[in-house]
Symmetry: C2
Amino acid sequence: MVLVSVVGLGKAGLPLAAVIADSGLKVVGVDVDEKRCEMINRGVNPIPEEMGLDELIKKHGGKNLIATSRYTDAKHCNLFIVIVPLFIDAAHNPDFSIMESTFRSIGKVLKRGDVVVLETTVPPLTTENLVRNWLEEESGLKLGEFYLAYSPERIMTGYSISRLREFPKIIGGVDKESGEIAYKLYKKFIPNLHLVPDARTAEFIKIIEGCYRDVNVALANELFKIAEEISVDFYEARNYANHEYCHIHLPSTGVGGHCIPVYPWFLIKEMECRGKYGNARLLRTAREINDEMVYYWAEKIVLECMKIEKPLADIKICVTGLTFREGVKELYHSRGLALVKYLSEKGLNAGAYDEMLSDEELKELGVLPMKPDEADIVFDSFELNVGLTD
Amino acid sequence: MVLVSVVGLGKAGLPLAAVIADSGLKVVGVDVDEKRCEMINRGVNPIPEEMGLDELIKKHGGKNLIATSRYTDAKHCNLFIVIVPLFIDAAHNPDFSIMESTFRSIGKVLKRGDVVVLETTVPPLTTENLVRNWLEEESGLKLGEFYLAYSPERIMTGYSISRLREFPKIIGGVDKESGEIAYKLYKKFIPNLHLVPDARTAEFIKIIEGCYRDVNVALANELFKIAEEISVDFYEARNYANHEYCHIHLPSTGVGGHCIPVYPWFLIKEMECRGKYGNARLLRTAREINDEMVYYWAEKIVLECMKIEKPLADIKICVTGLTFREGVKELYHSRGLALVKYLSEKGLNAGAYDEMLSDEELKELGVLPMKPDEADIVFDSFELNVGLTD
């Protein structure tokens, strides 16, 4: 009898927990947020923007899906799935503190024969090196007595349920046995599942999807700047350039969110640690180009200000669209936010407006609330969205 | 009555001239190569690898399609189409000498009302600045008295006829009238034709297709190197990473041919001239990565030599595949050639083998002929091919 624990009931973890519960398995969801756990157990969905999740939480919350903040409540589980956040610090190095404490907590309840699967997107080799060590140290067990695999989440907020049920998902073990055992278990609730050679391959696959996106957005931004310089309409040119073999992306204010601006750093930093700086030059250049688009647009905005017969400091500049997609309140690495802050730092009269944010929330972010219709100039931030398939 | 002159009867020009002749129009083909002209007039196709061309040359050569080395034979033509080569020099600057002399020769026979269309891939603004000036200076006419447009060839050697008849083709004028008039004429023999806002947009479209390819090959090469470093099978990972929204390319020995390794320089150099060095950083990094793959593979080959119990200088290394695609004898910017030369320069016992090249031709290239079955190590050069859609 498979008893599943999903650790981390956030935007990625909760839909997965709900889908597993809906497949007929019993799920113990673990999350530090006690209020969230209580909501789920009452059948109330804490992520209303996630299509189809209301229904699943109403049906399984407190029944097939029990949420708890205590790992001991999951001690009878034999499959542990981990989806907790991994952030990068100011120097773009991954901060494993949340992940380490999660796995050490699981290690304390881990039993012989249990299977552990990580879903968070991580730097390559994380599962086989760090996760394995944390689990072995805390459990006193050795790999082979428990099984360890990696299966990256490929969801997109809002569409996670259909993603889990339709989109191809991959899984790879830190050893052959782990891969095969984890694959068999996952097959019970993920229909479109593929076993890849090992955990590091699965980690690499998830990262390079993000790198493809980041580099191609950087290419679009670079070509956009060149087109502007030679007075060519980039969008018109792109329409004719793109065909079956050419997929030039859209230019933007940069790339925001937890995913695409983060993943290239996993490879860049790994190569730096190995002294192979040259191996990640393109990834690094792409990251720089995308982040520096904020300054490009700031210059464009100031040039636009010259058309207004007012002292520059009096011109009201409103940046709209700090959050990412309609209905998704997410500010991580928001380029719109970076832009309005940069303009303000330079002494310009810049503020922001976002349907998803109250004036108080904007002030907390250190940003002046401003209504677009009161502004002289409105800049609508157009970032690459969070998901891989927007 | 439209009488067409196609100037340049090379791999791109001759198929176009043949397609125009086959549409029922009279064509005067101009080429400096008198022997080639003579062949064509006898109905013999000088590019046998071009599918369907034998038949068209046999049918129209010396009849609807007259080849000549004298521009004066084209003096009654009213549509001049130019497809002559444009090379870049060692510093990656375009060398316009062939193109300039071509247009100056056309200018000498240009009449009021004539239409001139350039098809060679060129740096942005070439048509409206350089070509216009050359024509005006030699003809004594002003734009408006003649018409000038740009329509990039999008062929692929071997498949040019079907390309011309099926693939979308674009055209843009240096002024509105030129665009409209040239579009109407081209419509007579190019079914899938699209009028774009101006010549510079058409120039830019062709270049950015190549840039997309070059940057994405560089990304594949970079990710391949990272995968090797962390012992992941890149090809396996790529299989699972690629889907509807992810198009990671194949790694290679680099990018060879007249097209893709050349086009990014058109934008890089244009930005350098304007002092906007930062505007082409990604394109430049991609070029460097692709060209430097030769050194990466050289190192791999030397490491492979360590497995052989012989002094390094005695190990026979054979590089195969200097030309690009099966049946296409083309060595421009060949990375296989660059690799074997680099290995030889370093004192290694390196030679080359290529089905398309005789021992004498290899020696002329400064390369030692070597049979693969006599070598200790065989490296099969796998470059990105010449065409855009391989």
